[in-house]
């Protein structure tokens, strides 16, 4: 068994998803020497490559791959996978992984399992369906098992520093299809942790009533070093940008602590948070659905409770 992990990064920094993928890979095959990495980009920062090792690290570093367009990456990966006969290929189930991985599956004439949350055996995996309202145990009989991994379901495994850096393989490709062109990206710069990776998430809903009021969510997130989320209703009302949306059709989160403020708890929202370890709900309506599923339900006016909560946490942190 030989596993390939496709690494996500932004040319400067590694996305931490790679460490969750390593832990999923280790559940498939304990022998870390059989875990390999693929990384594509342009002017990839050497510190990224230095953080990777185990078996082999396959690198393609040229300007055609700067924006990781699937139309350019597909054939290189397909050829590498066929050539090295990997038994498993793992992607993070981020927008990057979801975009590229099925393209490889079709070119390899194999299936792909999306959002794997549990490894049962080397060919059997569990994945959520119906937005996590059911879980399917799936067996793959394709020779190559192609998986996207829901990173929140696997604890990170960090590569020890002392691992030897023996296996760097530089791949080459000069062919360009140029059927798609990158124009630009607008990435919301934030000091906050990434929503899908954060240990603590603070989310706001329609109860905030306005964009201005949403600032109290930001303040709470600040003192907790938490990521900020929102319901679809809050996004549609324009309180926050679309990439804040948590739920069935937005981001699925599974933090240690999820604080839902002014959120009623529509099933589509609950579907996106139900794997959180602890759910706290702050709502003035004791009958709101979120209050029934929360581990800790605080019936209160959020405009009183949230600033007070900030104060109390600050006191704790200063002690």
């Amino acid at each position: 068994m030989s596993i390939l992990i496709v690494v996500e990064h932004d040319n400067n920094n590694l996305k931490s998803s790679v460490f969750n993928l390593i832990s999923a890979a280790k559940e498939i095959n304990e022998n870390i020497e059989d875990i390999n990495f693929f990384i594509a980009g342009h002017n990839i920062n050497q510190t990224i490559i230095d953080k990777l090792s185990f078996g082999q690290v396959y690198i393609i570093n040229n300007q055609n791959f700067e924006h990781l367009l699937p139309e350019e990456l597909d054939d290189i990966l397909v050829n590498l996978i066929k050539d090295k006969k990997f038994s498993h290929v793992l992607f993070p189930s981020s927008t990057f992984g979801k975009n590229l991985s099925p393209r490889l599956a079709a070119k390899l004439n194999i299936n792909q399992l999306s959002d794997v949350v549990e490894v049962v055996s080397e060919d059997t995996f569990i994945r959520p369906i119906y937005a996590g309202n059911a879980f399917a145990t799936c067996k793959l009989n394709d020779e190559i098992k192609l998986l996207t991994i829901r990173t929140t379901a696997f604890e990170p495994f960090y590569i020890p520093n002392e691992t030897s850096k023996k296996g760097i393989v530089n791949l080459d490709s000069s062919s360009v299809k140029a059927i798609s062109r990158f124009i630009k990206e607008e990435i919301n710069k934030s000091e906050r942790p990434e929503l899908a990776q954060a240990k603590i998430v603070v989310s706001g809903g329609r109860g905030l009533q306005s964009k201005e009021n949403f600032k109290i969510i930001e303040e709470l997130a600040e003192v907790l070093n938490a990521a900020i989320g929102a319901t679809r209703a809050a996004v549609d009302a324009g309180y926050v940008p679309n990439d804040y949306q948590v739920g069935q059709t937005g981001k699925i989160v599974a933090p240690e602590l999820y604080i839902a403020v002014g959120i009623s708890g529509a099933i589509q929202h609950l579907a996106g948070i139900k794997d959180s370890k602890i759910i706290v709900a702050i709502n003035k309506d004791p009958d709101a659905p979120i209050m029934q599923i929360a581990d800790y339900a605080l019936e209160a006016d959020l405009f009183d409770a949230v600033p007070k909560l900030c104060e109390e946490i600050k006191k704790l942190k200063s002690n």
């Binding site: 367009l69 699937p70 927008t95 979801k98 975009n99 099925p102 393209r103 490889l104 599956a105 079709a106 070119k107 194999i110 299936n111 792909q112 999306s114 059997t124 959520p128 369906i129 119906y130 937005a131 059911a134 879980f135 399917a136 799936c138 067996k139 793959l140 009989n141 059927i179 798609s180 062109r181 990158f182 124009i183 630009k184 607008e186 990435i187 919301n188 679809r232 940008p241 679309n242 990439d243 069935q248 059709t249 602590l257 099933i267 589509q268 139900k274 602890i278 759910i279 706290v280 599923i293 581990d295 800790y296 339900a297 605080l298 209160a300 007070k308 909560l309 109390e312 946490i313 704790l316």
Partner: protein, 258 residues
Amino acid sequence: MNILVPIKRVIDYRVKIRVKPDKSGVETKHVKMSMNPFDEIAVEEAIKLKESGKANSVIVVSIGENKSQDIIRQALAMGADEGILISTENYEDSSVFNPLNIAKMLETVIKDKKIDLAILGKQAIDSDNNQVGQMLAALLNWPQGTFISELDIFDNKIKIVREIDGGLQYLELNLPAIVTTDLRLNQPRYPSMPNIMKAKRKPLEIINVDDFLAKNNIEINRNLEILEVNPPKERISGIKVTDVNDLVNKLHNDKKII
């Protein structure tokens, strides 16, 4: 310019689903079914392109039981021109619904109908795979724009905005192309009563899936088996806290999370 919109009949998003006691799947009998919400957005976008004169015809296709005619008629009432149902009525082999096989069938439809642009929902809300659009693009060697929130057509190119982790990505794709819809692309219309009546006279071709596969030499991949389906673990119901101090105490002293 011909547009294809593949659509799927799924359990309505407002229904609380129930896993069958024998673990074979999710109960779909006597449950409200609807068009997959992302597909509805795809239909709306195609019709808008036709209305703005940028497309000539909009064809919708569904692969499913005969009842899927309902959602095809709905799409026709919204403004699509023509419907195709590849009928799986009484068809036993559920492998046919795996994304790779669906993509292979759609590839054939695209070639038959001389399609320039296919607009798909980014995922169906039942199986949540998020694969068919990308697979279809790969089989055809076409560019793909997934999870889009904006679409514009110029000459033989499209400009799209994609919703990606952390923000937005702007791309230009050559036509022909495949795109998949995200929530904010548009707000689908409700068909008017006259349009619902008109839709009844629009062409809807029904092809048996066996015949379709045989005629087009499509080999079904059966390498993905669903062994069982289970409900999620129940959350242990929580407690009410009296005030902020009580909450902080629980999180700090009991759970040691803050």
